[in-house]
Every structure is written in C-alpha cells, then in structure tokens.
C-alpha cells in the first residue's frame, strides 16, 4: 500500500488487548478502567483483520497490547497468523512486558515469532516494582532468558525516566548485550493522562547518548526500520537504539499503521484521526473493509504534532495501552 505521501506502508502494529498485569506509571493510571470485553475484537476478528492487511501488502506484523500474553487464546491467534509467514508475511513479532514470557516462549518460537521487544525500565527489583507498580523483575528476566533459549531475538525497550533509571542506562545496555540482546532507549511520550508529570520525567535522548558514550564509542548503524529510532553499535559489538518519538525527522519514511484492540485504525500514533474497522468487520463485507483500509492509508497524515513544554504539553489523550505500546 502506498499512502498519499508516497510512503510504502508495510508494517502493522495490532493491539490484541488493552489489559495489562502491570501499571507502569508513565503508561496508565493506577486504577485504569479497561474496556468492556464486548468492545474488544474477538480472536477471529483479530485474525480476519490482520489477514486483510497482509493481503493488502503488510509484510511485518507486530502484536501489541496492553500485554498480549494476558489475552486468553493469544497463542492460538499467533498459531493461526503464522500461516501467512512466507506467504505475504515476512515477520511476525510482538511487544511484551515479559512477565509471562517464560511460560510461552517455546510456543511463540514454535509458531514463528522471530523477535520480541521486552519492556524493562530497571533491573533493580525495588525500582522496577515502583515503576511498574508491583512488577517482579526476576520473572521478567526469566522470560527474557527463556525467549533467547527458544531462539527468539530479543530487544529490550527502556523508557528513559529522569527520576527512575537515568543512572542505570549503561548497566541496562551492558546487561542486554551480555545476553546477546539489543536495547533501545525511548523518550517518554505525551500519551494519555497519567499522574506523574511528564515534564519532570522527560529525559532528552542526547543525555542518554552522552552517558553511553562515556562507556563505549558509538558508531552509527545504517539500520532503517522506518521508525523514529537511530541505531548505534558499541565498540564492544552491542546494538543500541536511541528513539526520539517526539521529533518529526522520521515521519518522511514512516511505514506503519496501528490498530487498537477495538479495531480502531490510527494512521499515526501522534494524531487523533481514526477509522472504525470494527464496524466494517462486523458488517461482514470483506470488500468494504479493504476499501476502508485503502482509503484510510491514502490519507495517512504527513507528521505528528507532539510537544513537551512546561505548562502546555501537547499530545494525545489516549493512553499508550489503548493504541498499543
């Protein structure tokens, strides 16, 4: 699919649930209200939707949440979608918080999941428990090790937080690289209303880069994923992504669209415009669904409009867990 700005759209991020077993402070409020189940797409609907996108030229599918592994029947969904691998779909990947990865890594590998992104914002048990409001880092580490043992490539995603993990960025990168995992650092994004002030927690990526560059010499890596990430290789051979989601330098090569677990198609993480694909799905007319997707993609916005500034932070009201993290 080619959008109205001649960008080739090949990457779909599909959220399978808005529920999560963690409550990361930057992601959702402590007492998050989840969607009624009737609003969430069924496994059959998720399969039909993903399959329609793959039929239209999506070659990379990332399953997101919420936490995908808390969705009942998730492995069945993955098993079903794996039929497209080698037949339109090149990559079936997912993002997870890792709490249940130890349990499911073998099944994911068996059904063709080649890579997982695991969110880990601290290796310190107390800090991790504070950021996630109760998470157990030991379970997540066991999950990462299980995924690696199962042959799944792992990337660790770290949201850089001024008060929580800025002093830990070198240790986190070291830890990931020792396991043969890549790691990416991400600036906090103005998505959804959460209690903690985002200005207080915002760390510019140049600050992360400075800390890493005191430990390693960093060589730029030509690895374009069509996203807002810059990749570098350390002189010890590890890969590090430095992600500045608020900057719009990368919109020109954007290759992705997002679908929420209620079937809302967002053409840009940082824009409110959406198309209700659930209504199309439930109307039972595959041609209408495909036409709606094609029309929406043609109108994909050129750029987002994020701003982090004192008193007037400008973002979107949806929580990260709604659109898919």
């Amino acid at each position: 699919m080619i959008d109205g700005h001649t960008r080739s759209i090949t990457y779909l991020r599909l959220s399978v649930t808005d529920r999560c077993d963690l409550r990361c402070a930057y992601c959702m409020p402590e007492r998050m209200e989840f969607l009624p189940r009737s609003e969430v797409l069924s496994l059959a609907e998720l399969d039909a939707l993903a399959s329609a996108f793959i039929g239209m030229g999506i070659t990379k599918l990332r399953l997101t949440g919420g936490e995908p592994l808390v969705r009942k029947g998730f492995i069945d969904l993955v098993a079903g979608l794996s039929r497209h691998l080698g037949d339109g779909l090149d990559e079936l990947v997912m993002t997870t918080n890792g709490t249940r990865l130890a349990e499911y890594a073998d099944a994911l590998a068996r059904h063709g999941v080649s890579r997982v992104n695991v969110s880990i914002d601290s290796l310190d048990p107390a800090t991790y428990a504070r950021i996630t409001r109760g998470g157990d880092i030991a379970r997540v580490i066991a999950g990462v090790d299980a995924a690696i043992d199962a042959g799944i490539a792992v990337k660790i995603n770290v949201v850089a937080l001024a008060n929580d993990n800025l002093d830990e960025v070198v240790a986190l990168a070291d830890w990931a690289h020792q396991r043969g995992a890549a790691i990416s650092f991400i600036e906090v994004m103005p998505l959804g209303d959460v209690e903690a002030s985002r200005i207080d927690q915002h760390v510019p990526m140049c600050e992360v880069r400075r800390r890493l560059s005191e430990r390693w010499s960093l060589a730029p890596l030509a690895l374009d994923t069509g996203g807002p990430a810059r990749y570098v290789r350390t002189d010890a051979g590890g890969t590090i992504g430095l992600i500045t989601p608020l900057s719009d330098n990368f919109c020109g090569s954007c290759n992705r669209v997002l679908v929420t677990c209620t079937g809302q198609l967002y053409l840009c993480l940082g824009q409110d415009a959406r198309v209700d694909l659930r209504a199309m799905l439930r109307s039972g007319d595959p041609a209408a669904l495909e036409a709606a997707i094609a029309r929406a993609v043609r109108n994909k916005p050129l750029a987002h409009d994020f701003l982090i500034a004192p008193q007037r932070t400008q973002g979107v009201a949806r929580h990260m867990s709604v659109t898919g993290g």
């Binding site: 915002h202 510019p204 990526m205 140049c206 400075r210 730029p220 608020l246 900057s247 719009d248 994020f306």
Partner: protein
C-alpha cells in the same frame, strides 16, 4: 547546558527546551550542532543559526561557561 529551539525547529524536535549535559570533547557551537544533530537532524542545516547566551554566532564559537544555546530556524526574506 540548556538548549532552546524556536519556530519550526520546536515543532520538528517536539520540545522547546532541553537540558542536557554535553560531553567534554564538545568545545564549540558547531561541534555542539553536530552532537545534538545526531538526535535532531533538523539542526544540521547550516542555515540554522546558533546563539550562545543570546549572542548570535557566525562559525564555531567556544561553549565553555555558556548556560544556554538557542537554535534559530532560517528566516526567509522578501
């Protein structure tokens, strides 16, 4: 050091103020541009002017002791 961005640079970067410590080997305004430009390529445009503590630079200027570097987008004439 405090980095401030104006006009369309503010929109391109997604922030108007960034506080960031600068590595010791970055000693002048153009090296600073190259360093920060790794994250924000919009700043690499040579037409983006840099002011150090409110003084506009023309070419590399030392940043030792500077509290604020402001990045100014090119202004079209006419």
């Amino acid at each position: 050091m405090r980095l401030t961005f104006f006009g369309r640079l503010r929109d391109a970067i997604g922030a108007d103020v960034i506080d960031c410590s600068i590595p010791a080997n970055i000693v002048d305004s153009e090296a600073l541009r190259t360093w920060i430009g790794q994250e924000y390529p919009a700043l690499l445009d040579p037409n983006v002017r840099i002011a150090l503590d409110d003084v506009l630079t023309a070419g590399p200027a030392p940043i030792a002791g500077v509290a604020e570097a402001a990045f100014l987008p090119p202004v079209s004439g006419g």
